[in-house]
Amino acid sequence: MTVITYREAVQKALADELRTDENVIFFGEDVAEAGGAFKVTPGLWEEFGPDRVRDTPISEQAIVGAALGSAITGLRPVAELMFADFIPVAMDQIVNQVAKYRYMSGGQFVIPLTIRSAQGGGAGFGTQHSQCAESWLMNFPGIKVVVPATPADMYGLLRGAIREDNPVYVLEHKALYNMKGEVPDDLQPMALGEARVVREGTDVTIVAIQMMLHRSLEAAEQLEKEGISCEVVDLRCMAPLDTATVLASIKKTNRLVIVEEAPHSSGWGGDIASLAADEGIYYLEAPVKRVNFGGSLIPYSPPLEDSAIPNVERIAHAIRSVII
């Protein structure tokens, strides 16, 4: 059992997979010699060499295409798109090519491909560098989406993603890079698609991921003092989505609050709510609440950014509103 940061967990997972499987390669903008814009991948270029760990030009479409083409010809590529906000720059390659390639060919290809990006706000990077992208990818069957919230999950799920014989997009939250956590020395690659009840409770279910998960846990702490018992579910993987764990929790608590670091419309929160309104309808004893950006974008100004992103107080408020 060692304590490492979320950032170190990414590097360790990549290093371990590069070591285990010579077909694994890794490339992206300034990920090799410089060790990454967020200093997440130092040492890989030195250990695995310039053939397997490469810096690329600033060409996101070519980066994703290089990953797809190498994946269907025998390699197991991991590509980085620095900020998740750049996903739209390569969107066609990701959603029309990578996600559809196996299907269009009638199953001729196995696509062991992983793409990684840093996402999320709270650090003052402004409107074009602070978005969370998981919902952008979920309307496209064919690609799995992973959103780790702890160093251990980051390590286990990234290794699981690289081992996965399907395309996987791993979204790392910027604000968590410095978070420390215990990672068992013998931790194995994790299967994708399993949510986790991070905190048991009886009065209300809170569904969240990444930074919002940690803020939800804080809110749960506070509310415990008020006598409200919150069960907190970390989805961990958005596609495939572990609806069973969510439903079981709703069945137990009869109340649901969904916390998203994103605008309200066309996001995954709606799917969780629709799950509750369909299969979970007879469990519900209160309105299903969503805490998110509503209709706002992410401004640069620190106080404005803080007011855009759900904080502990807003989360606690929403929870109280379904208890009374």
Binding site: Q61, A62, G65, G69, G107
Partner: protein
């Protein structure tokens, strides 16, 4: 068109000629199938561009890969897809090349190195970068060919891919079939240069203009570039000047063509060029050619009849092949 064209062995010439006849016959039947609504959506024919496909295919070896476009029937057949697999795919049958899931725009057969025909302009090009990357890292000696049209040289993915292939010295051949039109727009209306080959200079890459109607000219330039790529000297950009006899797709009749343009190109028909050269060289006579043509027709008609009777995929197929289930 500054390329010396060494004559190819008679067996290679025969293969190329046979393939061109099969391609043309197949394309003509497909147009009929579309009008009969047996092929749905849309279809894009390569009649007139046959030499681009067969001249390239004759160079390729096992392990080499190809990505191409919706206008890719000629490439699929030249690489060895059977007319049956293609016809069945055209009609969405279970025995089609892609189990009927791809259709006219997505003829794909990994077993012959055809990594996919793409319906997004430029979408196939970055994928070839990855195929070239595998060849380079695994030192397989293979090359990755990507075909695209003149209009596609104006899209971002083309530019990014050319640059990445060049900086990494990948074994990739960028083959532009300049058939003079992007959809209904003549190339000069969308592109401020006459010879697209010069775009290779932006990447310090050889850019070569080729007579796309002459299968042997295509072969010789592709061969040289392929050898160069296999030797680790990096990618090349080839501009094959060619012409599509049919409209862009579906029912387009090509009203935007200037008077006499089609007729002029018909005088340089790729089948005639090779056929006449073989006759001049005493390798072919009219009876033998008629026989070749006849067997091509027979093969296509047989395949067509067969494909029409093939079953559609079962409903379960809707949800298979989305993920590899291991």
């Amino acid at each position: 068109m500054t390329t010396i064209i060494p004559a190819l062995p008679v067996n290679v010439r025969q293969t190329m000629l046979r393939q061109m006849l099969t391609i043309r016959q197949t394309e003509n039947e497909i147009q009929g199938l579309f009008l009969a609504n047996l092929v749905r959506g849309t279809t894009h024919l390569a009649v007139g561009q046959e030499a681009c496909a067969v001249g390239t295919a004759a160079v390729l070896q096992d392990g080499d890969t190809v990505t191409c476009t919706y206008r890719g029937h000629h490439h699929a057949l030249a690489l060895g897809m059977t007319v049956k697999a293609m016809m069945a795919e055209m009609m969405g049958k279970a025995s089609g090349a892609c189990k009927g899931k791809g259709g006219s725009m997505h003829m794909t057969d990994a077993s012959i190195g055809l990594l996919g025909a793409n319906a997004i302009v430029g979408g196939q090009i970055p994928i070839a970068i990855g195929a070239g990357l595998t060849a380079q890292i695994k030192k397989t000696g293979a090359i990755a060919v990507t075909f695209f049209g003149d209009g596609t040289t104006n899209i971002g993915a083309f530019h990014e891919s050319m640059n990445m292939a060049a900086i990494w010295k990948l074994p990739v051949l960028f083959i532009c079939e300049n058939n003079q039109y992007g959809e209904y727009s003549a190339v000069h209306k969308t592109t401020p240069i006459t010879d697209l080959a010069i775009r290779a200079d932006s990447y310090n890459m050889p850019g070569i203009i080729v007579d796309g109607q002459d299968a042997e000219a295509v072969y010789s330039v592709v061969k040289t570039s392929a050898d160069r790529a296999r030797a680790g000297e990096g990618p090349s950009f080839l501009e094959l000047k060619t012409y599509r006899y049919q409209g862009h797709s579906r029912t387009d009749t090509g009203p935007y063509r200037p008077e006499g343009e089609l007729e002029a190109w018909l005088k340089r028909d790729p089948i005639d060029i090779l056929k006449n050269r073989m006759i001049d060289d005493g390798q072919l006579d009219d009876d033998e050619f008629a026989e070749m043509q006849h067997s091509a027709e027979l093969e296509v008609h047989t395949a067509l009849a067969w494909a029409k009777d093939e079953p559609f995929p079962t409903p379960e197929e809707l949800l298979t092949d989305i993920y590899f289930e291991g």
